[in-house]
């Protein structure tokens, strides 16, 4: 599923989350992000993000003989992802609690 309410889903965060599991190359990242997070990353967006994350030392390329170079998350990338996840978790918690209080929403 790809919806347009995913603007909050920052592509760098999606890529970091995807790479937190295991190293992946570009196509594997797009597949993983689409399947697990419901966001389709285009080729241009993905490599703009990869270039930015690599420049900031949050991911690093692995050696390969193939054109499909895998990337893995670095320690700095893992820390950045953990911090951001913590923030998002708080936002989600507050949102769930308030929805439940005001609207009686019990969750999806």
């Amino acid at each position: 599923m790809t919806d347009r309410l995913d603007r909050w889903a920052d592509p760098p965060l999606l890529v970091l989350a995807s790479l937190a599991g295991e190293p992946k190359h570009g196509y594997a990242i797009t597949q993983d992000v689409a399947e697990t997070m419901g966001v389709r990353l285009s080729a241009g967006t993905l490599y703009a993000v990869i270039a930015r994350l690599e420049a900031r030392g949050l991911i690093e390329p692995l050696e390969t003989d193939d054109r499909r170079r895998p990337y893995r998350i670095t320690m700095a990338g893992a820390q950045a992802l953990a911090q951001q996840s913590e923030r998002m978790s708080k936002v989600a918690s507050v949102a769930r609690e308030r929805l439940s209080t005001s609207l009686g929403w019990a969750g999806a």
Binding site: L19, A20, G21, E22, P23, K24, H25, G26, Y27, A28, I29, T30, Q31, D32, S42, A43, G44, T45, L46, Y47, A48, I50, A51, R52, E54, A55, G57, E60, L62, E63, T64, D66, R67, R68, R69, P70, R72, I73, T74, M75, A76, G77, A78
Partner: protein, 316 residues
């Protein structure tokens, strides 16, 4: 650095779990034409970006297929890649060398144009009575040209000596010649000029056609004098403080030269407006072409020098 949270991580050189192509699970469904178009859109990216990521993006497009959205995405993302290129793709020394070579060539052309201006206006004594702006422009031009040449010369001298010493030490005669061209070419030109004037000159100088020949030969000499160090920069690939000093000096020299160019524009426009009976100023074509060349050379000089200076001053 090893990731702390990627248990499936594999060491460099091996194939990690996610690296196998997934063509069988999601074959490309877009027509081949759009895939080709998306691949062609990669040409819009800066060369360093293409060299680093081009193959990977092509592989991704091969695996996932193209389509109009892929074309648009690849093309659109080329804009930020130019405006704000990723830091790790910056090759500062290469940027400085490339900018220096271009700025030097354009600066030489601009200097040649300035000397033509001096020959056709100041040395002829053309002024516009009642309009001191022309005389002021001459003075600004003289000071700016001299200052720019001094800054360029002194700023580039350490780099030039460094390359000359290396070419000498490594027995690279071709590079020695390239580096000596800024001395050889003007000297040869001046010698030829003196001989030409002695043989063909009249009381009031050479005729218009010979003046054109002499001027074109001067531009050829300036081009050779600038191309020599440019080629040496490319072949010897110097780095370090001398390169940074030269790049920073090129920025200052270009800025001062832009002032000289502005003075040329003021003087030529002033003569066209107020004293158009002088030879060459009675109609706008020749001055117009001349001013267009001046503006073009100034633009290339300042843009190239600014890029080199920015690379020189950037944090390592």
């Amino acid at each position: 650095m090893r990731p702390p949270t990627s248990p499936g991580a594999t060491p460099p050189g091996s194939t990690p779990p996610g690296s196998a192509p997934h063509r069988s699970t999601l074959p490309g469904t877009a027509p081949p034409g759009s895939t080709r178009l998306a691949r062609a859109a990669l040409a819009l990216y800066p060369p360093s970006w293409r060299a680093r990521y081009g193959d990977e993006v092509r592989a991704l497009l091969d695996d996932s297929g193209g389509g109009p959205s892929a074309v648009a995405s690849v093309a659109w993302r080329a804009v930020p890649a130019w405006i704000c290129p990723p830091r790790h793709l910056h090759d500062r020394p290469a940027r400085m060398r490339s900018s220096l070579a271009t700025a030097l060539a354009a600066w030489s052309m601009l200097t040649g144009l300035g000397l033509v201006f001096a020959q056709l206006t100041q040395l002829q004594g053309f002024t516009a009575p009642g309009h001191p702006e022309v005389r002021w422009a001459y003075a600004v031009f003289d000071v700016s040209l001299a200052l720019s040449a001094l800054v360029a010369g002194f700023g580039g001298l350490p780099l030039w000596l460094l390359m000359l010493r290396r070419a000498w030490r490594e027995r690279r005669p071709r590079d020695m010649v390239y580096l000596l061209l800024p001395l050889i070419a003007p000297a040869a030109y001046l010698a030829a000029l003196i001989v030409t004037i002695k043989l063909l000159g009249r009381a009031n100088g050479v005729g218009p056609w010979w003046f054109l020949v002499v001027a074109l030969a001067g531009f050829a000499a300036a081009a050779a004098a600038a191309a020599g160090p440019g080629l040496a920069l490319r072949r010897l690939q110097p780095r370090g403080p001398a390169l940074r000093v030269a790049a920073a000096a090129a920025g200052v020299a270009a800025a001062v030269m832009a002032v000289a160019a502005a003075a040329i524009v003021v003087a030529v426009v002033g003569l066209c407006l107020w004293e158009h009976h002088f030879a060459g100023y009675h109609h706008g074509t020749l001055p117009g072409v001349y001013l267009a060349l001046v503006v073009a050379a100034t633009t290339v000089t300042t843009v190239s020098a600014a890029r080199g200076t920015r690379a020189a001053l950037a944090e390592p």
